[in-house]
Symmetry: C2
Subunit: 344 residues, 2 copies
Amino acid sequence: MERRQPRLKELSRELGLSITTVSRALAGYSDVSATTRERVREAAARSGYVPNRAGRALKSGQTGFVGLVVPVRDAQFIDAFLGEFVMGLGEALAEAGRDLALTTATRRQEEMDVLAHVVNAGQVDGMVVSRATCADPRVGYLLDRGVPFVLHGRVLEETRPHAWLDTDGAAAFGEAARRLVALGHRRFGLLTFSDPMTFAHYRRAGLEAALAEAGLALAPEAMAAAPRADPAALRAAAGRLLDAPERPSAILCATDTLAITLMEEAARRSLAIPRDLSVVGFDNLPVSSYASPGLTTFDARIQECGVAVARMLLAVIENGPAAVEPKLVAADFIPRASHGPAPG
Amino acid sequence: MERRQPRLKELSRELGLSITTVSRALAGYSDVSATTRERVREAAARSGYVPNRAGRALKSGQTGFVGLVVPVRDAQFIDAFLGEFVMGLGEALAEAGRDLALTTATRRQEEMDVLAHVVNAGQVDGMVVSRATCADPRVGYLLDRGVPFVLHGRVLEETRPHAWLDTDGAAAFGEAARRLVALGHRRFGLLTFSDPMTFAHYRRAGLEAALAEAGLALAPEAMAAAPRADPAALRAAAGRLLDAPERPSAILCATDTLAITLMEEAARRSLAIPRDLSVVGFDNLPVSSYASPGLTTFDARIQECGVAVARMLLAVIENGPAAVEPKLVAADFIPRASHGPAPG
DNA sequence: CTCGCGATCCGAAACGTTTTGGATCGATAG
DNA sequence: CTATCGATCCAAAACGTTTCGGATCGCGAG
């Protein structure tokens, strides 16, 4: 039953035409007559001919793939996003007839090696670089070899211009701070990651800027951080904030998972939310609407980001890096029951 | 700065060797001397040489990619799994030096066309077929053209043998039924999908078999179903179960999302869970542990399934379809607070 | 009648790799 | 001395596609 797929050679023999003509007919060139073109197209459709990717890639240099490297190590962190983001990427790529080449890096340290391998094997036309760190080495690497890419997130100091798309975490946390100040809060806390993720930096910066505007400040002991991959340390960090002598009345958390951890620790200490403590997260994970109380958070519309990143990358591949402007997209405030007026 | 990647030609010229020798040295053939082999390997590592995927694919017929087609339409359904499953696939593929080629089908109807396109373009060495339906047309299609594949899920009637891996939903729902019977429940209900998904069939069959063993049966009006992609209809179906004259005291739901919907509808009707009604789901989504009360469910360990499916597929690619046995894996019962003794 | 031109078509090269079938050379066996 | 053999190496073909530079033919202009 095993039917081999017809290739240009078989197709041309069957039609009594040359390989060249069949190829050009399918590509729609004007130097093949309209009747021949139709005849070729009809035969191709009937036999289910699809140009071989490898052959085309070899000649044209375009593989039809866009690469994404995802680290498999800290699954608990990325899982929640990956699905949505990949869906967005795939949706936009499908429109352009491209596919996503997904490579997993089994350890964090390998991520750079894996990227180099993918790029050097020429298996992609461009890369999506996700989860940007403050001084992400991948940016320089890709710029150096002229590989089209779009960074999802931002680098702290953009020494050489490149395409990126990031959610405006600074604006979001600024907004959250102003809303909480308006509700009477004066003592703020921040629970965040100690890893050099750029988003954590900007969320903190946005919070501090808004507090400064209100004449407030984030006390050093009101900020707790721990490595993303260390749940126990994160739990401890949350506890530290709650056990501080001058416990904050409002705590912003860099992500929803942190906020959930914080709420669990608060429950263990019999603190009522939002009566004793207001909590705000970020990401709008499905979990956050089912937590009790429902978690106030921000929605970054990850799937739309995926679509936008893919479109940007296609533009870079098509027209060069200068063709696209970096994008900063706003996150939507999702008020739920975990924040309220300041106690007292 | 744009450095072009060295190819076999440049590398061989630089070393004063032929392309053949360099290629064979890197492949580890014994007909190149140990000293030359080392010299070549050192030079390749230094210059960052990686064989071009397209060139290799063209000659050897192996692309190094394994394909997965995901429909982007019903994102709300697949999102929860996709991340975990893909992680598992990627993890196992990375060990074998392969990558995942992810293609999105923008509409449900297109899924078959997309599959044909991927296969006919020769862009993959094998396919992972996910979300099996009762009489899935993809199985016959792939068998016909001798494309290696593994089905995640099962087909109802396996007319021609092929590799598949499925979670034993029948056993799981049987276990749930027996536990609930032991807790005094006699009136059972089932909330499921009306789509022809195989998993829904088996979960129902497992429930009915266990009930029959206990001398019970599922009343026709105690089963409600609606299309997966229609949240309103699903909500209505849940309501129908709750409003039935002889309301079940225990309702099994084909998935956690259905169970969550049911619990929301129950809350609107002021039914207390588990006092008035026991609810059991399936999937162990993150959400299920944060619902109140926590949802009793089954964990299918999706990531491990991804790993196993990938390993099976690699074996099929390597040694032919006869080399692997289908696998039925058990799901773990995760007892939480949503089930309890029968009322009265 | 010859020339040039537009409309169609095609041969051959090239992309980078792997593999087949030798070629070369020094040493060993007869 | 010649034949054989093992150890090393290499030229060339092939995978399927795209594209460059023609080739062919009929027809109208000169």
